[in-house]
Amino acid sequence: MHNSSCTVKETARKILESGQAERLLGWEQDSSGYNHAPAVFKSAGELDRFIYDRFCGSNLSKLLARLREAEGRTAVLLKACDRESFNLLVREHRIDPEQVHRVDIECSGMVDIEKLRNKGIKGIREITESGDELHISTLYGEKRCRSEEVLLEKCLSCPAVSSADAFDAVGQMEERSSLERYEFWKEALSTCIRCNACRNSCPVCTCEQCIFDNPRSGTAGKASADFFEDQHFHLVRVFHAAGRCTDCGECTRVCPQGIPLYLLNRKVIKDINELYGELSLEDKELGKGALTSFSFQDAHPDIIRKRTGDQ
């Protein structure tokens, strides 16, 4: 990653120096060092702040939608997982691809600092890697661990860096009884503080005004006075992303309460894969998604009732 980090920075420099773009979307060194924030770089001189390492989890594509009004082209660095969200935003006309200089960059998986800490690794100074092993030089000496063990949840669905089956956890959840699921989610979702971080970081949540912020929508609500509100908010959020969510994992990554939101998103993706499979080529070309297309042979909703498991 060290090598690619240098080349990425070099690429960024070239783009800004050559004037291929007016600005570049990248990451800047975070004070903590473990969660680099997205930043706009307007000249090569500003690139001192630029960083690309194992802690650049955030997805830059959504910011492009916010920069739509800006003059001139914007260059953006896209990791593999971010490219799908980028494509969705283009498909939904939230980004004008003509205005974007797109740079696909390599990524060997981003590290979840919490997972590292849980392994008792603290005082991190530098991380290097060899093979699938990370070498962490810390204040307390050199530590090692397998990189897959400390990757962000989102990276586990990336075939390039992880051999895990992203849907395993969903499958296990499906195996549980209805009541067990209810109790699991009651515990998990009740901790939601409605900070809206999941929504704000989500690249598919780009409505001009979210219905939860619109008093006229009949759905607005900020506080979670009743558990229903928690269920409702997360159901609607997931449903609005259904067929559009690219499993970029931002929601899970940013949730301060550690709610396993990926279990919801991946469930929808799993359902869509199992029930509807791939979109037809024609629908794909038209830019449709799972909920804006159909097939005559689609299953009837009773298929849900026929699922086994104790209710």
């Binding site: 209805s178 009651k186 409702h232 449903f239 359902d271 909920l291 689609d298 909703p301 849900i304």
Partner: protein
């Protein structure tokens, strides 16, 4: 509308498309085919008009079951509306099930304008299922349901 000490009286919201299922309900009425009074119908132009938000809203406000009825596949007045409804509701029902809300509380069925008997049968069967499940405790808003109890 007192709740206590009375046998469980469920509340079922039925969204019926104007062209087929609402007419099927009319036919059930004209044919004097009884189904429980707890089934109450909301008329929508097409099953594809039913926003999942409406279904959630009904549960929030105290419904114990929600059923959506539309034209049979291929017969939609708007040609394809029910196909979209089918996908949406399948995914919605699946998510509710996944969140541990009893999957029998939601249903979608196709009822044509000629199927008065089917309308009554479907509603009777659905009502029986809801009776068997009992009150919706997993997905209601206490603030709304306590208002009913008063």
């Amino acid at each position: 509308m007192s709740v206590d000490k009375q046998p469980f009286k469920p509340l079922i919201a039925a969204f019926c498309c104007n062209w087929c299922s609402y007419a099927g309900a009319d036919l059930a009425g004209t044919s004097r085919l009884a189904y429980p009074a707890e089934v109450k119908i909301i008329r929508v132009p097409c099953s594809c008009r039913v926003n999942p938000l409406f279904v959630l809203r009904a549960f929030q406000r105290g419904a114990d079951g929600v059923i959506i009825a539309g034209c049979h596949p291929g017969d939609c007045h708007y040609t394809t509306g029910n196909y979209y409804a089918r996908r949406r509701m399948t995914l919605l029902f699946s998510m509710l099930d996944y969140l541990g809300i009893e999957k029998e509380r939601t249903k979608l069925d196709w009822i044509s304008a000629a199927e008065g008997v089917k309308f009554a049968t479907v509603m009777n069967d659905f009502s029986k299922e809801i009776h068997a499940l009992g009150r919706n405790t997993r997905f209601g808003d206490l603030r709304c349901t306590t208002a009913v109890a008063q």
